[in-house]
């Protein structure tokens, strides 16, 4: 199944702004991030503070909804999903 990933702000310093991935059925957000980390050097360190622990500025939206309110890294993906990797700015 095809998943579209859009990366914003600091994530663009290690990966493409937009990438399309072909993932097997049953893939989750964790599968997707592993696939991306294999493709882009430095992405794993940027996103994770420890295995399975995302840094607090890593917000992942699945079709506009934060995976925090879904199943986190275990959130299942469906063909055609748009995943946004969004590190929110906090300053004013």
């Amino acid at each position: 199944m095809k998943i579209t990933v859009k990366a914003f702000a600091t994530f663009r310093e290690v990966m493409d702004m937009q990438v399309e991935l072909e993932l097997p059925a049953g893939a989750t957000v964790r599968t997707l991030l592993s696939e991306l980390a294999a493709r882009y050097t430095g992405l794993d360190t940027l996103m994770f503070s420890a295995p399975d622990t995302l840094r607090d500025f890593v917000n992942i939206l699945k079709n506009g909804r934060n995976i925090h309110f879904l199943a986190g890294l275990d959130t299942p993906l469906d063909g055609g999903d748009m995943i946004a990797l969004f590190p929110p700015a906090a300053g004013g």
């Binding site: 859009k6 914003f8 702000a9 600091t10 663009r12 702004m17 607090d56 500025f57 917000n59 939206l61 079709n63 506009g64 909804r65 934060n66 925090h68 309110f69 748009m82 946004a84 969004f86 590190p87 929110p88 700015a89 906090a90 300053g91 004013g92």
Partner: protein
């Protein structure tokens, strides 16, 4: 009340016609200009974003601005906080801001509040306001304001900056996600770099949203998050949706009045 826009309508014009708003009235009519003059807004934070927002909304003729910040002006603010000048260093920001705003448009009523935004102060601060604008520099205060806006059902224009990056969205209780839906936990950044041009870009978009909301013009940044990338000259808005499990708003799309806080 900002009288300048309506002199031509007055049966007994006491003042010569004022041309201040001549070039913008075609965008939303004299009715729109009057709505700006009658509007009461809360500007939370008088830093880089607050400087751009206060400047453009005062220039546009917003009638009442309550501007809240507890800091004094420091030399390191001057790269981006264009409300302030070298002689303001050491002065309370909101006092200096009031002077700058009045130098630009003396008809704006400024309520300068030197106060910390927290659970104790927030209800007083949002009371009587038509719209809240985010000029804050941390998510702790933003979450307090987000919650107060939901309780008082006041729209909240969120903006934030980091380096050359920034984001903006217009949050309307019961219509859009709330801030907590899209950013559930406080993001921390090791580097805290910022340059004025980013504050100008994001603050201007926030002010533009305010003008549109207050005058009923155009289409708001509702249910979309605009992400600004000044480093690459790219800008994109992505769809955002509410989370029924959000602790702050928790409303369901099927039942817009089912917010937990009101139950």
């Amino acid at each position: 009340m900002n009288r300048q826009a309506f002199e031509e309508d007055s049966p007994l014009p006491a003042y010569p016609p004022d041309s201040r708003f001549l070039r913008q009235i075609p965008l939303f009519g004299k009715e729109g200009q009057k709505k700006l003059a009658d509007a009461r807004i809360l500007l939370a934070g008088a830093g880089g974003l607050g400087s751009a927002i206060a400047t453009y909304l005062s220039a546009a003729g917003v009638g009442y601005i309550r501007i809240v910040d507890e800091d004094v002006v420091e030399r390191s603010n001057l790269n981006r906080q264009i409300l302030y000048h070298e002689q303001d260093i050491g002065v309370c920001k909101v006092e200096a801001a009031e002077k700058t705003i009045h130098a630009l448009n003396s008809d704006v009523e400024v309520d300068a509040v030197c106060r910390h935004i927290d659970e104790k102060s927030v209800n007083d601060l949002v009371s009587g306001m038509d719209l809240i604008l985010d000029g804050m520099d941390n998510f702790t205060a933003r979450y307090v304001l987000n919650r107060a806006c939901l309780d008082a059902k006041i729209p909240f224009i969120h903006g934030a900056v980091n380096g050359f990056y920034g984001q903006v969205t217009t949050l309307v209780p019961g219509v859009t996600p709330c801030l907590r839906c899209i950013v559930p936990t406080t993001p921390t950044w090791e580097k805290n770099a910022i340059i004025g041009v980013t504050c100008g870009a994001i603050g201007s978009i926030e002010a533009s949203e305010a003008v549109k909301y207050l005058t009923g013009t155009g289409k708001l940044l509702e249910n979309r998050l605009l992400l600004w990338d000044g480093l690459r000259g790219e800008c994109e808005s992505i769809k955002i949706v509410n989370s029924p499990d959000c602790n702050d708003c928790g409303f369901s799309e099927d039942e817009p009045d089912s917010r937990r806080s009101s139950q």
